[in-house]
Assembly symmetry: C2
Homo-oligomer: 334 residues x 2
């Protein structure tokens, strides 16, 4: 029996730098370290699993899908420690049902996405797109008619109250106590814990806040739920930021609202990515655009590495693991 | 005897909205409200002062300079409640020496400038200038070689530790505990209060931080103290942000360093303002430029209005005033 570390060189370097890899190898002894590039097809992958019959697999973005019959090939397999996020493409629901333990980066990288949200909020409030155009392209300056805004004391509404929203609250709290969220499934106790008030409806969230942050999970129910009507209800000079899922928003409607210039918009996610070259969202100075770089940032992949290390230690010592993918989490994940 | 409220219509509307003006008029009874536009020259100003012989003058940006002999004309004058910042151009040092009480907006508006600093820091860390060019102008997207950074756990150094720096600390604290500052005149107790470590020298501040924020006051000693050598000592991929005084930095050196693209730069202030149309700082995608809009933002002028209202109440009731311009503050002010 050999545990399997299935990671590419760049994944080891960015997720497990500065001695983390040695520590993990030690925890996983006996183990083999396999570069995903060496496993050229699913057949080679199944052979690898069968030959090593691992108890633990550590992997990341370049993991190959586990065959449904993996427990026939590798009956010893108990735990997949996945360094990154999306596990639906590599692990089938039935394996979780059958008791396979799976963890991913959980909330260890959420704060970087929250940071991106704060950047887009502040950038919109201060009209960075407009000033970048004025200062860099037009060689211009402010004048007597310039009106500026601050985030301080603004009403901030969050659509969704998952891990990223909860990491966003401490970043925006120094600016305002007027924070509310709309997220039907979330218990009141969680709102209380974060001192965030509950918006009664999506309509209230959009129409009664100066800043609206989109962080709702994408489901059948939330697909394009942010309609033109909702976007138009944001007060004049208001801000709409999306760092969650592009398809929660009706992007064509968003582009129409954007074009009118009445509100400031900051986006890191889109219905289709990469954003098409001729998207009407491009070229508008009231819209800040980032190419889905919210998180994790390259320099904070170590946080996911540290989370995996802690989970492997907990697994070995019978402690509590974080970011376990149970059926509920699996079904909610995207 | 009449107290004088010497404010333009737009100053009343933005500094004293929503009943604040009525409250102040009540506190200043008997008083006259004079629009600065009606006082066309210094002679009319002196006549106004003489005719009303005020105990209190409330004014702002459009105040005319008090004549040195103002106490001959208006011997009753005890208190100038100045809504805005720079008082050196309107009140001579000798009047302060002679016991004239003067307050200004003090630290009531500092937080908006700190907010602008955080925006520029986050914008530099995430390369917003670069991505704005890529996304809006080139119609492009990120690729496999894209390396991104976060502010979390970064070493942040602040040059200066005055009011704006002290308001910045709670905004950056959620991102990092590795905050240091260099400010020779500031007592250790203040560093301890804000849990900020002391950099031993300007050289250490620049060379041993990932993010350097310029907030030092402009004096003869600090004029262009941020040299090319210091700027070049910022680690690769580091950040330099200036929201303090343009002339603390050697701007020609800054432009040379900027052009090389090794660090990200965010600026709200310049040696000469407006920034000249052909400044070499314009057009570089590793430089974020704002046209000195740090603060106070238009929407937070009310904070200065509230400060003035509180000071006038304190003056009337024998309480403690905030933001008093004594000789020490006067000599340090710009």
């Amino acid at each position: 029996m050999n545990n399997i570390i299935f990671l590419a060189k760049d994944e080891v370097e960015t997720f497990l730098p500065e001695g983390r890899m040695s520590k993990i190898r030690f925890l996983l002894e006996p183990c083999v370290v396999i570069n995903p590039e060496e496993i050229i097809d699913q057949e080679a992958w199944i052979r690898l699993l069968g030959e090593n019959n691992p108890e633990i697999i550590l992997s990341a973005w370049r993991m190959r899908a586990l065959p449904k019959q993996v427990l026939d090939e590798a009956p010893n397999l108990k735990y997949v420690c996945y360094l990154t996020g999306t596990i639906r493409l590599v692990i089938s629901r039935s394996l979780i049902e059958n008791g396979l333990l799976v963890t991913n980066w959980g909330d260890s990288i959420s704060r970087t996405i929250s940071e991106c949200a704060l950047l887009l909020i502040l950038g919109c409030v201060r009209k960075v797109g407009y000033w970048t155009q004025k200062m860099h392209v037009e060689g211009d300056w402010s004048d007597a008619s310039t009106v500026t805004q601050s985030l301080f004391e603004k009403r901030i509404g969050i659509h969704g109250f998952g891990m990223i929203a909860r990491k966003l609250v401490p970043l925006i709290r120094p600016f305002s106590d007027r924070i509310s969220a709309f997220s039907p499934g979330v218990p009141q106790s969680l709102f209380d814990e974060f001192d965030v008030s509950r918006a009664d409806s999506l309509e209230v969230l959009f129409s009664e806040n100066d800043v609206v942050v989109e962080l709702e999970a994408l489901t059948e129910e939330t697909f394009r739920i942010v309609s033109e009507k909702l976007l138009r209800s944001i007060p004049p000079s208001g801000v709409f930021v999306n760092v969650g899922r592009g398809s929660v928003v009706d992007e064509q409607a968003l582009a129409r609202v954007a074009k009118e210039g009445r509100i400031q918009i900051g986006l890191d996610v889109y219905e289709e990515e990469p954003l098409s070259k001729d998207s009407p969202l491009r070229g508008l100075d009231n819209v800040l655009l980032l190419p889905h770089i919210g998180g994790p940032t390259t320099d904070r992949r170590v946080d996911a590495g540290d989370r995996a290390l802690a989970n492997l230690r907990a697994y070995r010592s019978g402690g509590e693991l974080k970011g376990i993918i149970d059926l509920e989490v699996y079904d909610r994940s995207t």
